[in-house]
Symmetry: D2
Subunit: 406 residues, 4 copies
């Protein structure tokens, strides 16, 4: 591992994922826990020049005014996770990181998200250029104050309603003009992406939000030599779909129906309880099966908000398939995972891998990170193990390239 003062800037810093990242980084720094669940801690990555998690400094934006100690404690109590002695031991670091969080923006992120804000101006109509400028000021101030040598930006905020692209979104020149006007042309997630990419910072979209998934922003990334990864972290039910669907292909069984029912009770679930936000999420969830199978079986997916489960996302899937001699059979699974805890290590992995790539001079979309996402930008492959092979191949190439000796 290499040692550099590294900044990790989270959009939605105080959410469940953000808070778990904070506790996790603090606990790793204090040697309270191990690197279990970090993909980048696999033997595959031995001798890769990845940044040590202990070198990370945390900052971010949030539209809610709170702090890490409070949020982690609340998650501990509601979801019955984390050891209370770890919370105590990490208190000082968490407080320091809380002071790095700045008021966020929710312009054009929809009513459900706006309602969460307790920072008055969060969703206030404001010229996009002003918002971008403020975000950049915050990012640079964080970098300078902490004397950071490098820095990555990861979006872990709530799911915005779907934002349909128009002609202006396909040209950076035209979009720049539009952004300087007073009309709103991008959701907040994309303003964050803009701000980061424009500063040449790696940008990772861990949510179904639009973020950098705009052709004009890819242009910007190439121009500024920044890397992009996304979108929507593959943490539970969809991950299993991308592991199991290839089995049905390999055994030549015909999937007739694949029913997915998700129950979740955290803030993410609360936001997804709003139809416009849920639709955006379901879009990224429903494609994977048909794309792996090569045909479209019945694939109803649903999400229910059930506060008592809090962060414990429970998914039940029923796969109904036709075997030899037309015999219909079935497979059911129930996945009981803690959403933030599943997501947090992947956020660290993505930050490490994005920084590694950018350090090596890569630019634009990083296709080798497809295995982390429900809807991998720039990659049509949804089969998890084939996606993972892309990552393995990347690491092998990297180890064989002279750049590594650096």
């Amino acid at each position: 591992m290499t040692h550099r003062r590294t900044g990790l800037w989270l959009i939605g810093a105080f959410g469940g994922v953000g808070s778990t990242v904070a506790l996790g980084l603090a606990a790793l720094r204090q040697k309270l826990t191990d690197c279990n669940s970090l993909v980048t801690a696999l033997p595959l990555f031995r001798d890769c020049p990845l940044d040590d998690p202990s070198d990370f400094v945390l900052g971010g934006h949030d539209i809610r005014r709170t702090d890490y100690v409070r949020e982690v404690q609340a998650l501990h109590e509601r979801a019955n996770i984390f050891r209370s002695d770890w919370l105590k031991a990490c208190r000082l670091i968490l407080n320091e990181w809380s002071s790095n969080v700045r008021p966020g923006f929710a312009a054009d992120s929809g009513a459900a998200i706006a309602a969460l804000a307790d920072w008055g101006e969060a969703a206030a109509p404001k010229p996009a250029a002003d918002i971008i400028a403020q975000i950049q000021t915050d990012l640079l101030e964080f970098r300078d104050r902490n004397a950071l040598e490098q820095m990555a930006v990861v979006h872990v905020a709530s799911t915005e309603p779907a934002f349909p692209l128009e002609t202006i979104h396909f040209s950076l020149t035209r979009l720049k003009t539009a952004v300087s006007g007073s009309q709103s042309v991008l959701p907040s997630s994309s303003l964050y992406a803009w701000a980061a990419l424009d500063l040449g910072l790696p940008y990772v979209n861990f949510t179904p939000c639009l973020g950098a998934s705009v052709p004009a922003l890819l242009e910007l990334a190439l121009e500024r030599k920044a890397v992009i990864a996304g979108q929507d972290g593959k943490t539970g039910e969809t991950l299993l779909k991308s592991v199991l669907a290839p089995l049905f292909v390999a055994r030549n069984w015909q999937v007739l129906s694949w029913v997915g029912h998700n129950v979740i009770g955290n803030r993410d679930g609360m936001i997804l309880d709003h139809q416009e936000n849920k639709s955006a999420k379901l879009q990224t969830k429903s494609k994977v099966i048909a794309e792996i199978l090569g045909y479209q079986p019945q694939t109803p997916v649903s999400i229910e908000y059930c506060p008592s489960l809090d962060d414990w996302k429970t998914a039940w899937d029923l796969i109904h398939f036709r075997g030899f001699l037309d015999v219909k059979m079935s497979l059911q699974f129930t996945w009981q995972g803690c959403d933030s805890v599943l997501a947090a290590p992947l956020v660290l992995d993505l930050a490490r891998l994005a920084l590694l790539a950018q350090g090596r001079g890569e630019v634009g979309i990083l296709p080798h990170l497809a295995c982390f996402f429900k809807n991998p930008v720039g990659v049509v492959e949804h089969d998890f193990f084939k996606q993972f092979t892309l990552l393995e191949q990347y690491v092998r190439d990297l180890k064989n390239s002279p750049a590594v000796s650096n």
Copy 2:
């Protein structure tokens, strides 16, 4: 596809798997059903010189006196599978194939199997050499009477008790001497394997029985230029284990416990209800997880015999794992598959692929068939998709080799 008169000889011809193979081949010949569930019908195999299922003629050994029409009808009624009009349409072919089945042997196959025999001499003590000779007579008579151009032998009989190897099993010379004596030195499954390999026929072991998994018999195969594949078809719970366990590796989650509970009600289940037979089965079932993970979590596996389920094998698995920050999570699945219907297409695939290999001059163990088996002989890889990659690679090499143009 190529056309050659091809014999398929099944040990345990009238069992559930054998009967389903018979109905399946007959229905394919009559164009009543499609090649759904045949791995060898995947696009991957397009342009491979595989034999057409319509060219297969069925024969075999069985220790029970019955016939295909009766067995298929009974399976139809007990397990509620197969269309009754298909049974009617296939009656003539099935009767013809029934007449190809010869009395089988159960010497040293254990008391549970012996009790199934309604052929008086099935389990009678008899010199092994005599049994081998009789099996060979039956095989050759089948070949000649049907003017077969080629032929494969597949073992689909009940699970024998485990048979521990001794020194004599490691040398063909010594084993030959032992076999000609009056002492029993091999279970029936291995006598069948001997008989087939000695005639230079491909031998596939679809069960956990010893069969050809004896170093001396591998010597025999090499000497006679015969191919070997096995062992124990991977059709249900173990298949899922070999698909899901790699996910826990790739995501760096620590599996704490993996509980497997299998309920089955067919003849196979009845035999497995005997402790010595069950132990042999559980041995092949329990290795896969630890070998994929690289460490040994708690992996209790159990099998219960429940006649009402008949061929519908229901498996419930609970995977308990440790994620980031020591949070324990779980995945459960319930697999409801029809055992014979899952196995039968794989038997056809294996016969086709073994004949293809032997036709190309390959000899001995066929490692590229690992993805079909719970306990692949000659291969340590248990990860299903890595095993499948071996098969894909084999087919690609084959397509690139000049031999294919033949």
Copy 3:
């Protein structure tokens, strides 16, 4: 058992439930099957003067033009149920009963149901009084032609959209006036109920449709001395809810969330895939838990239409509850039942019990039949076993009353 020529008239005669009732009655008459799954065949009913199922003659209304042999055969093939030799043996009786079915009505039953009709005039706007008159003509013609001594009407047609009651529905006089006008004031299900009750026939509503659940129609029933039972047969998930929820009460566990997800693929499912029809169904499904518990936990219920499952309704429920010292625990269940096969015996039970009651001079709502319904009219009790106790008490009282000696 007593012997009387008994008519059973089904609204939605050719649907899945209707067809299964037809095959069941025919098979019972032919002694091909036993009375397994008939509640009225329990020892409790020994010596009760119930009508012998062999004495039933079937007739009904349907908006689709088809016949029992075709429908039963289709159900056999799609859902893989019924023995094919039974179908053959029952063919004559089924054909006879098919000829008793008359064109039905779908006025004000919503667009989804109207679309099913292949009888041109099914959903045509027509004065309600004319429809009622035609239904009565059909009923009387059936009775006379078959020389029936008694007759019951059971509604087993698709779920109509919810039909909100207005002032006129609370007075028979006012409703009579309205019905003779040209304005539509009742959905088809209620016109059937009206026609039946007005003739003094027992009317059972096995669906969530409005039917006789109109105060004015109860008035009519009392006036005509007819009995009423309903509504919405309790066959699967809701049945289990009404069995399990009382456990949480008795053990003083606090239910936090009770999630229900239903997947179904038959015509009923297809109709419920329309929002207005689904809403009506979900209303009757969602009340039971809160009414048993005495408080309202989170109870999201959903229904998905998945054609490949056809009649095999699969329901997954997750019950999340708080135990001692605030520990949260859970129970999950998966119910895999064949919808028509679950419903059909209850239809027979209800016809027998309604005829028994009417024969004893009872009138109006029959509260002792609550255990058969999701939304028992006239009874607030939803606990299945308490409902069953009402039935047991009724039978005991009946046996002790002199009327039984008749």
Copy 4:
């Protein structure tokens, strides 16, 4: 509620159930939690003269040397239950109660239990009369030191191997003679029962151990005017069986198979991992279904020990049944409950109800407590709700009897 200084003496005081009872009583006394999950806190018991949980003083026997704070803390960490601030707040009370626990006995409790003892003499061969005398000394010393007005003894220790009854166990006179000899004639659980009953104390057997289920000990109870309740607390899978099996009766469905698979990882599971102890447990678990149904379907029950689950007992049940027209259907459930937390409130309920009964002059077996037990002594009813009705009836009778005004 009434107020009396009340002693609760637990055999196996420091086990999971005992420790949870201790924390629960302490937390109730401190008003940290509510009476959720106490059956005796249901509205049914309003105005019943039950003892206030705050008046309970805890003591007991254990063969392990440890203390409540350590055990509760370990349970908290291993099973992830209890709030850490509650542990802190209850520390003083727990320490006081730990000092009330005396060295226990494991004579004739089998090798698995003996191996747990870290009190050297726990399993030492010793005349039964001496053990009984020592137990009584401990009980009386506890009573006197704490000035208790009343006291109940509850057995919550590990499952002993089955102990078959012989002729001498059917006569108190003969058993007394045998006990004074040097031959071992009773397992430890029965010596505890003897000691308690002989002092006229209520004795509750919450385990499958023999305890007071000996005719001679019932004689003793009657002689000393003591009450007896047992045996084996109904907390999870068996509870669900006793709730669901009656549904299959009431709907006249034929249960073909009922498969139960239990996975548990606590000390109880560790002891049950020994064949002789497991057999004793399975005996009480397997009867319930056949006794409710009135016939014997296939009912395989299994228990696996999986340390990672610790106290979280996970049970998977598959019910396969025959419906109308011979259609086979199924119900599966997965129960995920925390064993000690499910048991502890029932221990409190049983102590309260046993003391109430004894205070009212009842003697011998208390049949109204059947709903608490897997194997209710003196009651053949296994249907949970019928058992609960016995309790309801008892409370109603009690409220109507003049004794209550006392």
